[in-house]
Subunit: 337 residues, 2 copies
DNA sequence: GACCATCATGTTAACGCTCACAGCCATAAC
DNA sequence: GTTATGGCTGTGAGCGTTAACATGATGGTC
């Protein structure tokens, strides 16, 4: 990696091109009234001096940095991550850069600190992935003076943009599929209670339950991990609720359930059907391949960033819900065949 | 989200505290020679005015922004992501903030552009995840005037820090485990050829092969995805090389192989053993649970960021190799039992 | 030919901060 | 009583850019 000389400044370029520094600034900012001859001279000087504009100086005087702050939760889940990269990609394609901060714990103070830093840094917009109600509330309470998009299942004031994958719709598709196959007693392995997505999926399951069913006996709570799904499935199997199908709140827990069933000698889908949620890459090759609900996190991230940039350009706030798709593979079939 | 008033400046704080702006600056920068009475007065003024330092102005005059640039490749792989979050976490704990950019394609120009931007932004250090030789070379060719850490399997000049998980060691552990179990003919499902990690794992496998074995017949190339592992395993099974074990270059492809074997009625580990690489979360609950090599990406990220911050403080460059662990589960056993 | 609009360019003043330097007041040393 | 020393504080300049205004040239209109 080669060393730099002292960086050239706008005045250096101006001198080299025989114009004033302001003309250089105009060229850089695509101001219309610059003659093409001058523009060319400036551009030449810029390349020959290897000039690069000082972003700090620009940010100081304009009060904006062309940076977008992205707040994510530091989970190991793959979804939020595809999100992140998709957002960064769209942002960069539109001329913005991404500053990120991950939420280590669910401390509202941490949210406030991060937002403050983003503000200090002069970000032009903020995207926050808010998986819990606590995070949403911390965001709403924070002093934010730039456009903001919340990636959350929670309902937010109309003046704030939000985007999310429609959890209830996805859960209904999963449950509808099982019901069409003939299942009546469907168990549920849910995610952690404070998670808004877990709550939405759980809610849809509860709503779909026949009046006679006992929700308590048909449900086990996990923490999104495969092992927690395994344990949840074992608990469900030990009970006497006798479900013919399981709706797992995510694919990982569905794998755990798959393993538990395999170890109990219960064949999927013949003696038990399973549907997951997420469609992570591995689900193409679980045994059997998993019927699931595809959440397109890349699309979500792109859409969210589009909303943010549009909001930064003055458009009104939007609330986007992306409808997830049912992906039919082999883990769900007619009951007891 | 509440609206801000015009932000207070250092001069406002100085006025409120009855001191000069320079004294305020000193308090903010923890300069020793400020009397405690003055310090307290300034601090009070700061809180009462809700003053926040303008980072752009500070960066303009100091030439550094307390930001670290992180360059990652936009893969859907989970590893790089845990990395990213771990790095950000360490950086923030040490008072730095993270700016990220994802590599969309393997265009060297993109690397150069991103590094230029980081430089323009006045980052104090750069971390780059370089999965291919092309990326490494683009990084080495770039004009970088701040400390840099490369997360790569490639060897880099001594003046540049690097960090990685020791791929050869991991692969040797996997292969050694199979050999100890009694396997002689071990097939390999490799990752994409341009990937440095894939190459290292493949190299270790090649080196461990008996002289009589035919590498061509014992190997199939995948692209890290589960489906590619499935297809690779099918190809291997169709051939006549008769391996008793498969070393998959990552866990996802191992899942694909697991599915292929299951569909061919070949029982794992009784008729075929499989070892993966990564230890992703799902591997606890594959059928059977996967024996694999654990790569601790979180540790890697933390270590890399530590190296960078130490380098920024003037310490010499380091080259860290983290030794991955063999995780024994149930997918590998003695041959044909 | 006088006038006004328009384009192209230059001049000056911020933006909010840190750095280098200068000044002041104590206390200690002779 | 003078001089040195060191702790605390203030003054002024300047970082590189954009914004606002001023200026000079050009061209069309009456």
């Amino acid at each position: 990696m080669k060393a730099h000389h002292a960086a050239a400044t706008m005045t250096d370029v101006a001198q080299a091109a025989g114009v004033s520094h302001q003309t250089v600034s105009r060229v850089l900012n695509n101001h219309p009234s610059v003659s093409s001859a001058t523009r060319r001279a400036v551009l030449d000087a810029i390349t020959s001096l290897d000039y690069r504009r000082n972003l700090a100086a620009r940010a100081l005087v304009t009060g904006s940095s062309h940076v977008i702050g992205i707040l994510v939760s530091s989970t190991s889940q793959s979804g939020p991550v595809s999100n992140l990269l998709a957002m960064e990609s769209v942002a960069r394609a539109r001329g913005y850069w991404a500053s990120i901060a991950g939420l280590r714990d669910n401390d509202p103070q941490e949210v406030t600190d991060i937002i403050s830093h983003f503000t200090d840094q002069g970000v032009d917009g903020i995207v926050a992935v808010a998986q819990t109600q606590a995070t949403v509330e911390a965001m709403l309470a924070a002093h934010v003076n730039v456009p903001t998009v919340l990636l959350t299942a929670a309902t937010v004031p109309a003046e704030i943009s939000s985007a999310d994958i429609d959890q209830a719709s996805g859960a209904r598709k999963a449950l509808g599929h099982l019901r069409e196959l003939g299942h009546v007693t469907i168990a549920h392995i849910s995610g952690p209670e404070t998670d808004l997505h877990a709550a939405a999926r759980h809610g849809a399951w509860l709503a779909s339950l026949p009046a006679t069913a006992d929700p308590e006996a048909l449900m086990a709570v996990g923490d999104w991990s495969a092992m927690s799904g395994y344990r949840a499935a074992c608990r469900l199997l030990a009970g006497s609720s006798g479900p013919t199908a399981i709706f797992a709140a995510n694919d990982r827990m569905a794998y755990g359930a798959l393993r538990a069933l395999s170890e109990h000698g219960i064949r999927v889908p013949y003696e038990m059907s399973i549907v997951g949620f997420d469609d992570i890459e591995e689900s193409t090759c679980s045994i059997p391949p998993l019927t699931t609900i595809r959440q397109d996190h890349t699309q979500l991230g792109s859409t969210a960033m589009q909303s943010l940039i549009d909001a930064m350009r003055g458009e009104p706030a939007r609330c986007v819900k992306i409808d997830p798709d049912l992906i039919v593979r082999n883990s769900a079939g007619a009951p007891n065949h």
